[in-house]
């Protein structure tokens, strides 16, 4: 006998960074007014698009690699419990400790307690979307533990008491003079004569981070992949600061979303080709760090793996939407998205911005908590083409729009339109009536909401004297 335990829970309210303070159109309004932000974003996304396009074009089997990546992820999602249990067994065999966190609150509590037991008052962090998602830094700070981000861009965001606005380049919205000001204000021991020369900024961060690496005993990371076959965890990065965190401290705590598990070591062959080319536009990322449990005398001697659900099982329960769990956080969809390019990441209100955020965030939280996000797309489809694991983002967006609450007036109009349009004669009569009752003034420049959104920047077409249907009938 089986017992139905109900639908899996979505990510809890009141914790983490998956929900915005205001609906997307209102948040976008602020971003659109910032000309500097739009220029920064345009420059950054155009540059990375071109770079990624060049290295992808080098691979004759890019489409086959995409298909392989998608197939591996679909396989993983079809037997997630089995793979996670295998991962747990292998990590445990190799001296690691595995913890299961149903949501952000549990994960934060587990990590905080683990750090507290070490007696450390400071931890170093590898750039990680999962820990941003659950707001781990805030939880640690509340417990009197200081988290230090070691990815340069995450450090900029952290010192600026800011939010990341891009999955890969979290400080994409900051220019170098803003970064200098942030460092001068918030970086311990900074040279007061610091200039906004990029090498000088990098050197300042390096000096501060080296001291921190050498004097901190606990590190916290995410994981790009967890290999069920061997219990190996993998982190890919560009700076080497991640490797410092993963190798120097005594204790390493890794928070990994449950969808990051892959069956076998050989699966990395596919993803380690897809991820850097789609993400940073590199043939290979500069640092790939892999570790399996604990190796005596080498690297962290205490290893904890926290497996995070936080709404992922709820996403898995949706046949159409579950593809969003294929995501390998490359951010290619952000870089090609015409909406993201104009609004930036903060408008999405979640740590997952852009097209993937517009489908992932509402699913993790439940659509009602992110109801405007599925509509934050023109459905142009550039994201689907760019996705290295073939997530059909436009179809998921359309699917989620069905679940979103609709404004009552809109609902009435759409129902009436569907009624008339499924009755050909009524439809033809309605067409003629609309022509007679033309509510627009000359060139349709002043219409009531929501049509005013159109007429604010565009004229309406002149209504022709005769519909095609009437022309055909009179022919």
């Amino acid at each position: 006998m089986t017992t139905f335990l109900g639908m899996p829970a979505t990510a809890p309210r009141g914790v983490g960074h998956l929900r915005g303070d205001e609906p997307f159109p209102r948040a976008a309004h602020t971003a659109l007014a910032d000309g500097q932000l739009r220029r920064n974003l345009r420059h950054a996304t155009t540059t990375i698009r071109a770079k990624s396009g060049r290295v992808i074009a080098e691979l004759p089997d890019w489409q086959e690699l995409r298909s392989a990546g998608s197939a591996i992820k679909a396989d993983v999602l079809s037997r997630l419990p089995e793979l996670l249990e295998r991962l747990e067994a292998r990590v445990t065999e190799r001296g690691g400790v595995v913890h299961w966190a149903a949501d952000a609150n549990e994960a934060n509590a587990i990590v905080t307690e683990l750090v507290r037991r070490t007696g450390a008052e400071r931890v170093i962090k590898v750039k990680s979307m999962a820990t941003q998602e659950i707001a781990l830094n805030e939880a640690l700070e509340a417990a009197g533990i200081q988290p230090v981000e070691t990815d340069l861009a995450e450090l900029i965001v952290q010192l600026g008491q800011d939010r990341p606005s891009h999955i890969l380049v979290p400080a994409i919205h900051r220019n170098r003079s803003e970064i200098r000001d942030i460092f001068l204000r918030a970086m311990p021991g900074v040279d007061p004569g610091l200039t906004d020369d990029p090498p000088a900024l990098a050197a300042a961060a390096r000096r501060y981070l080296r001291e921190t690496f050498l004097s901190t005993r606990v590190a916290i990371s995410g994981a790009n992949f967890g290999i069920a076959e061997t219990g190996t965890l993998a982190v890919v990065e560009s700076e080497g600061n991640g490797r410092m965190c993963l190798t120097l401290p005594e204790t390493l705590i890794t928070v990994m979303g449950i969808e990051k598990v892959v069956p076998a070591w050989t699966d990395l062959e596919v993803f380690l080709q897809l991820l850097p080319r789609a993400s940073t536009g590199e043939r290979m990322n500069p640092y790939t760090t892999m570790w399996t449990g604990v190796t005596p005398g080498d690297g962290p001697q205490n290893f904890h793996l926290v497996l995070l659900d936080n709404g992922r099982s709820a996403v898995l329960a949706d046949r159409v939407g579950r593809q969003a769990l294929h995501c390998i956080r490359c951010s290619a969809c952000l870089n090609v998205c015409p909406v993201y390019e104009r609004t930036g990441g903060h408008a999405y209100g979640s740590v997952y911005p852009g097209p993937i955020g517009a489908v992932l965030s509402p699913q993790l939280t439940g659509v009602e908590d992110n109801a405007s996000l599925p509509f934050a797309s023109s459905l142009c489809g550039a994201c689907f083409d760019a996705c290295p694991v073939k997530i059909d983002i436009p179809s998921i967006l359309v699917h989620l729009r069905n679940q979103a609450p609709h404004p009552p007036a809109e609902k009435a109009v759409m129902r009436a339109a569907a009624y008339a349009m499924s009755r050909p004669r009524l439809y033809a009569r309605a067409q003629r009536a609309a022509k007679l009752a033309r509510i627009a003034g000359r060139r349709g420049r002043a219409l009531p909401p929501p049509l005013s959104g159109w007429t604010a920047a565009r004229d309406l077409p002149e209504v022709p004297r005769q519909t095609f249907r009437d022309w055909w009938a009179a022919r």
Partner: protein, 241 residues
């Protein structure tokens, strides 16, 4: 060949010249065009705005109207994309497997104009003459949903007197997106502004595309800005002699 025209609700009501041009072009090429009067709308607006159950009767109406025709043409990449990809999905989601199968069949016989001309009728030179400078905007759904590729460009290159000027960043969305232009009007307008800058930078007095909807958006923006650039549906250029 006997070809059934799906005019699309937008062309029927607001852009009949694009539909008339489609008829004239196909008749000039020696084909018989029929217009089944029971047709209404493909339902894309409903599906894409989150009203999938309401779109079901529209899918049923499209399928029953066009089931008896071997070749169907629509002067819109976006509506053809919806018919081909969304109709079977809408029917399947409603548990109507039979309708889904029929929708799939009818969808496979429904072509966007440039697909019909190049793939089905095997013609790239339609005998048109249009002595003007023209720039072409590849609409997102014709580009990425039904993958018309360079078919419209091949047709335009054979038009006598026509000087085709490449549109910078052509594959960027114009910002229309159906109800996106209303629900996210400001973001849509920001995308439109960049598209208009690209169009005007070509110096061409005419911008063409295979979708009346995107042209309504680009044209509405150009007209509001007082630009002399006109928008014209691809069918109208191909029909010109």
């Amino acid at each position: 060949m006997r070809i059934a025209l799906f005019v699309t609700c937008l062309a029927d009501t607001l852009f009949p010249e694009a539909a008339k041009a489609t008829v004239r072009l196909l008749e000039r090429l020696g084909h018989e065009v029929v217009f089944p009067v029971e047709q209404t709308c493909c339902g894309q607006m409903h599906v894409n705005t989150g009203y999938q159950p309401e779109a079901l009767p529209l899918v049923r109406n499209y399928v029953s109207t066009f089931a008896g025709y071997d070749v169907i043409v629509a002067p819109s990449g976006s509506c053809v994309g919806s018919i081909r990809h969304q109709h079977p999905a809408v029917a399947a989601a409603a548990g109507q497997a039979g309708l889904a199968a029929r929708a799939h069949d009818v969808g496979a016989r429904t072509y966007e104009l440039s697909e019909l001309l190049v793939d089905v009728l095997g013609v790239e030179d339609v005998g048109a003459c249009f002595p003007h400078r023209v720039t072409y905007h590849p609409t997102c759904h014709s580009l990425r949903m039904i993958r018309v590729g360079d078919k419209p460009l091949r047709l335009l290159r054979h038009v006598r007197g026509l000087e085709l000027i490449e549109l910078p960043d052509a594959e960027q969305c114009c910002g229309f997106g159906g109800t996106f232009a209303l629900k996210n009007a400001e973001t849509s307008a920001a995308m439109l502004a960049d598209k208009m800058t690209a169009v005007e930078s070509t110096g061409a007095p005419i911008c063409t595309a295979g979708d009346a909807s995107c042209l309504m958006h680009i044209g509405g923006g150009l007209r509001r800005a007082g630009s002399p650039v006109r928008t014209l549906h691809l069918a109208e250029i191909l029909a010109a002699t």
